[in-house]
Amino acid sequence: MKPDINQSLMILAQELIQRFSPLLHEEYEQSRLNSLAALIILGSINLDKEIANLSDHNKLIEKWLSKSLVQIHDSELKEELVKVLSSGEDSITHAALDSRNQLLKKNLVRVQAYFEDIKEKDSLIESWEILRKIHNDSKINHLLPMLKE
């Protein structure tokens, strides 16, 4: 089995900070290299769960959009939503899931705006619960203290 990508990236980043950064004489270049290495570490932490998250989030949004169809009285919007929901993607590559995610988010935005206009509060609250979950799953701001070290 090959070395795990996430772990390898972390070791490479540490190598940059510990071995190569001290060789640079310019303070500016040294700071730049250290920041780069810290960002590689940060990226490697998130890499692992990214695909599973995208897949979960897509399912959540699809479920909410399907449920919302009942409350939507705008026939054009309804028709387009049905089309989007029936065009599911089988591929589980990152690119395919991400592209599907963007399409679903675009429609979530449209439906949220519609519900704001007709003051459909319960459905809006459900949509915000989904957005909170999506954010919590993908957030990285809690890693800020690690970057400062």
Partner: protein, 345 residues
């Protein structure tokens, strides 16, 4: 490679010394030129010069435009803002020279005297200890002074747009939404909901139009022990509502690890009381709430723009990727908190 980078002199220090010698009619030699890390809208250098037949060296700050900057701003904006506060109660570095064209040294630039003090990271919660109270009082007092200054219109209106009291919010929102529309790499429902709310529920008209710093926060001032020695980074300055700066300075992103102390200084209540006293202005809570949500949208616009610069390889400075990842994530979370509070009302 962009035009400005191509035009960078081979030996920047020598050419800079020659430029300043001509400008000030003196004979300088460059002893050292060092780029300062941080900030992505300008390339900032500390230059140590020595004048012929003089013993002591002098340090100046050389701020040079870069084409692909995090925030696209005119160097003249910064120059005008610094000019306005020379010799006032708002501490700013003394201006030495300004070049608005790329003829000298390949890019527009400002030269200022170097002030004493250090600029801290806005993400370091301990950096002002043990002087948070004293620095905090100065921080909000100075912002009050900026808001209270009567802007000499004849001088500034040539370069700055002159908004009316009731349209300034819309001008700013339109501008930053425009940045989001241009630079966004994908759709973000949290941000879109905030934008819709901001257009739907505008603030009251501005009590006055003042010079807005545009990025007044911890990290953008110099501090020496317990004293703020200079307010820096005026490149986003514009005329607008004084509450805009107030809301930006209060934004949770600048005190993410200690939300009870905006800018990691004193409490919100204390800060606002000082600002009100110094500026002589009122604070309408509803309008301030609007500007605080606006601050998050503006912040996200900046971080989105930074991410776009990085991923398109136009400017691969790691600060751009960092901005897109961490501050972008923080501002998204702050918007989420605010929008949830609105929806559950």
């Amino acid at each position: 490679m962009n035009q400005i980078k191509e035009n960078m002199p081979q030996n920047l220090g020598v050419e800079f010394a020659e430029y300043l010698s001509r400008k000030l009619n003196k004979k300088f030699e460059c002893q050292e030129i060092r780029r300062i890390f941080g900030g992505a809208s300008r390339e900032t250098y500390r230059v140590r010069l020595i004048e012929k037949n003089k013993r002591d060296s002098v340090n100046v700050i050389y701020r040079r435009s870069q084409k692909n900057s995090l925030i696209e701003t005119k160097q003249e904006t910064e120059y005008l803002a610094y000019s306005l506060f020379q010799g006032t109660g708002v501490p700013v570095p003394k201006l030495i020279s300004f070049e608005g064209s790329s003829q000298s040294l390949g890019a527009p630039f400002l030269v200022m005297e170097e002030l004493e003090g250090e600029a801290a990271s806005p993400f370091d919660s301990d950096v002002y200890k043990p002087f948070e109270e004293e620095i905090g009082k100065q921080f909000w007092t100075i912002l009050g002074k900026i808001a209270s200054l009567e802007v000499p219109k004849n001088r500034l209106t040539k370069s700055f747009k002159n908004p009316s009291n009731d349209t300034t919010w819309k001008n700013e929102l339109d501008y930053w939404v425009g940045v989001i529309r241009n630079d966004s790499l994908g759709i973000e429902p949290i941000l879109e909901a905030a934008i819709r709310w901001l257009y739907r529920c505008p603030p009251k008209q501005a009590e006055k139009i003042c010079l807005v710093h545009g990025d007044y926060r911890n990290g953008n001032f110099l501090v020496k022990k317990n004293k703020i020695t200079g307010i820096l980074d005026w490149e986003m300055a514009h005329l607008g509502d004084p509450l805009e700066d107030l809301a930006w300075a209060l934004s949770p992103i600048w005190c993410w690890e200690l939300l009870s102390r905006p800018a990691y200084l004193i409490s919100r209540e204390k800060g606002l009381a000082i600002w009100k006293k110094e500026s002589g202005l009122r604070i309408d809570e509803t309008s301030l709430n609007w500007w605080e949500l606006f601050a998050c949208v503006k912040g996200l616009a900046i971080w989105i723009s930074a991410g776009n610069e990085f991923i398109s390889s136009r400017n691969t400075d790691p600060v751009n990727l960092f901005s897109a990842w961490i501050p972008g994530d923080i501002h998204k979370e702050v918007i989420l908190d605010k929008m949830e509070a609105l929806i559950y009302l």
